[in-house]
Amino acid sequence: MNISKLLFVSRANLKGAKRKKTVLVMMVLAVISVAVLANFLNLIAYNYNTKLNSIEFRQIEVDPEVVYPSHSYKGVNDKTIDEVLSIEHVVSCEPIRYNEYQSFDIIDIKDDNGNDVTVNGNEIDLEKIERVLGEYRVDEELTVNCAVGQSLKDSPVMSCIIPDKGMLFNQENFTMSDYDISYLYGKTLTVECLYNALVFSKADGQGFEEGGYSNETVELAKLTLKLKVVGVYSLSEYAPVTGANTLLVSPETAQTIENMAVEEAKKTMPNTVDEYVSDPYARRFMVTVDSRENVAEVEAELLELGYRPFIWGIMDPSFEQFATMFSGGGTFLLVAVLLLTTINLFLSVYSNINERKAEIGLLKAIGYKSRRIFLSMYLENVIQAVRAIIIGGVVSAGIVLTANIINLNSVVFQYRMLIIPWTRFGFYILIAFALILVIPLVCQLIMTTLITRIQPQEAMNS
């Protein structure tokens, strides 16, 4: 079947169609609803769930045993670890072997040949880079994938991955701006850090503790480290999980750095690190739970058993409120628009067929078959859908662009999670297009019997 021949009649009929403006408007609204509203809703839900399902919200810290004059807390040791592991919903109970966060100063950045790094022939601004990459964090689950280079899963020890952009806070006008740091890919950062550790040792009765362990924060060593940037990840995509300005290292790298610090500390303060090194239970332990929903239950169980649990990962309640409110209101609006569009299209198809009985009868009289008439009428809706996707797409793009700019410049970091990447926008435009093609098709399929029932002799009616 020749499409241009089919379109010949469809285009002509569309010119005279009574409801075409209404149908077009409904389709445009449907496109905007899906491309903007549904997109935002899904983005919020995805970021919210991604954040909540990340490991930081499923972990409970348990300190070593401590005995105070009035009360005592159990710690994890060879006698109690099985008890902890046997609690329902507990997945693992591991000692914290390294710092999960470590701040540093960047003192140098070199390329593979040992040369200073330049950007378009200009020296790089080390101070600005340090403002956006001033600490490393451990990617415990190695879930961050890089758009450029390797992820930490595939990379050697003493490497790192960085976001494509840093966020610079301007104190003069309280705005945030993006700072492109993707050019650091492949470069080696030389950083200096004061490696501190929370060192536990057997209580000697001199402090508050009568028994168990006492603790102090000890500066183990000043380290100079070389970290090669092996990958770059998208900040917009991973912001909900990583936060802003986060240089990530693997657990092995973090362990290596810890070992370096301990080795240095052994030289200068052997007694202090002795138990830290030799006693596996002179550590905080991290209890990992199977899901966020069960964290409270496990915490209660640990308390009941006499441990001292700490939950660090608590979702910002305002974000939770925002997410819930927007999801509820947005869902209602989206459903309302799609329902209105469907009803309107259904009525349009129905009246279209009813009002054109004589015309359909004539077409059948001169030899047109029901299938061709069906296609010709459906093409009228396809033409409208194409118009709607262009108009709706442009309007939606404008809305998304405006929202992205606002969120990008917001000082509230959570709003970065509402930035819609253009690839995602394009995907939702495709979904919207599919929807406004499918709804009239379904309506028309339902009305097929009407077309079939119209007989050629209808043409003989005035």
Partner: protein
């Protein structure tokens, strides 16, 4: 010889109303016949049967020697497309298409025409043939009743059918225009088409070769 033969046609609606009773008639190539009668006499029903717009309850329709009344819907549509052109009282032109574009409509489904340009060219020739070359680019609402009916006739000729069946083609026209239309139909018959007109209008008697009168669903009289 090409012909449409209806044999012993009977049509009963809803098991109650007998619109046609045992009607036998033929339309031959090059002939111009009229079927006349009062309202409800069954003449429009006869045209529907002959033109395969509907199927008889009893009897048969033979077109060019082939029995067609037992064909399926799609096959009937193909036969109509190739062998029969229709002209209706209400013209039924698409108001969104220009005159020549309306004539293109039947050719769009004819597999013999591959290109749209070819179809357009042929449509313009047919518009010229019915004497409307200066009005080809006009929309139906810009044409008079007579002009619209001539466009409808051109459309009926689009796929070069063997027969033209017209249902009250002058029903909405004044006397000058009706004469033009009858004249045009007469010319088509002379060119070899078999033309059957259903009409109340006795003016047609000056143009036709044969007249059939219908009464209460039967052929009451035949005059030459």
């Amino acid at each position: 010889m090409k012909s449409i033969c209806v044999k012993s046609l009977t049509k009963v609606y809803d098991n109650r109303v007998t619109a046609l009773k045992n009607v036998t008639l033929s339309i031959e190539e090059g002939s111009f016949i009229a079927v006349m009668g009062h309202s409800g006499s069954g003449k429009s029903t006869l045209l529907q049967m002959a033109g395969l717009l509907d199927l008889p309850s009893e009897g048969s329709v033979v077109i060019n020697g082939e029995e067609v009344s037992s064909l399926k819907k799609n096959e009937l549509a193909n036969v109509r497309m190739k062998t029969i052109g229709f002209v209706f009282q209400a013209f039924h032109l698409n108001p969104q298409l220009k005159a020549y574009e309306n004539v293109m409509l039947p050719m769009l489904i004819n597999p013999e025409y591959k290109k749209k340009s070819e179809i357009e060219q042929h449509a313009r020739k047919l518009i010229d043939k019915v004497g409307l070359s200066e009005r080809a680019e006009h929309y139906p609402n810009e044409l008079s009743g007579g002009e619209q009916q001539r466009v409808a006739i051109a459309r009926a000729l689009a796929n070069d059918p063997d027969f033209i069946l017209a249902d009250e083609p002058t029903g909405n026209l004044d006397s000058d225009n009706e004469a033009n239309i009858f004249e045009l139909l007469k010319e088509l018959a002379k060119s070899g088409k078999g033309v059957m007109v259903v009409s109340h209008n006795e003016a047609i008697l000056d143009y036709v070769d044969k007249v059939y009168y219908m009464k209460d669903g039967t052929l009451a009289e035949e005059r030459i």
